[in-house]
Point group: C2
Amino acid sequence: MSVPSPVTIRRARREDVKAIVAMLADDPLGSTRERLEDPLPPVYFEAFDAIEQNPDVHFVVAEDTDGVVVGCLQLCILPGLSSQGASRAVIESVRVASHCRSRGIGEQMVQWAIAESRAKGCRLVELLTHHTRVDAQRFYARLGFGPTHVGMTMRF
Amino acid sequence: MSVPSPVTIRRARREDVKAIVAMLADDPLGSTRERLEDPLPPVYFEAFDAIEQNPDVHFVVAEDTDGVVVGCLQLCILPGLSSQGASRAVIESVRVASHCRSRGIGEQMVQWAIAESRAKGCRLVELLTHHTRVDAQRFYARLGFGPTHVGMTMRF
């Protein structure tokens, strides 16, 4: 890692959606899944509204010292019965703008998510990372996550 | 698999919590994590109330033809921005009572969850299964799930 860039982690706003989708699309997997068009397809804003209205879903962005959005992360807090009724947190959609990687921005976002999960009383944080994202797996291992599970998915 | 046992999948009720916790505890991993005591620790009922109040979390049980609870599954529907604003479903806490395994009960529950996820407009269903649960991974693969991701966790 080069010099860490300090960022502010804040709740995403509607005007951040384009920057978020650009980050989601700027990725070998995301490029085939997203539609980074101008104007952006309305489905993204509909999804953003659903996120905003859901008290258990926290979509945050990392903003650099110039106010530019350079990262994003979604955190969901879910109740559950297992592990003595423990709530659990699920981290999704972690992205850092490609020109800002290796500056500790992802780490600051994930540390925010871990702290928020603890503050909400969760006893477990979980995430799925694509098996091809070996760097991501190393990154999460460094932050204290264990590769304990197989993440299985079905797409419709 | 022997002869499939037809079950009814229905929303879990407060009086099912003990049977659910018994299933969660009857497992090499769960036995160290749960507290199957009489009376059951109140945390389980508090967690159940939180689940009941959350419109995006569906905890169901499988009931046999005698009305006995023989399986459980938690399904969460989460909004998201990635994959063109697709909602996703997360399956958790899938258990079948040990004396009822290999009768297609887990399959009926998971097929219910897949159908429900489709009905709610999800385009992705995901789950984490412990890396030691090789039979579970084979089971999910047979139902159409791919081992596409590494499931990483952190416990507090």
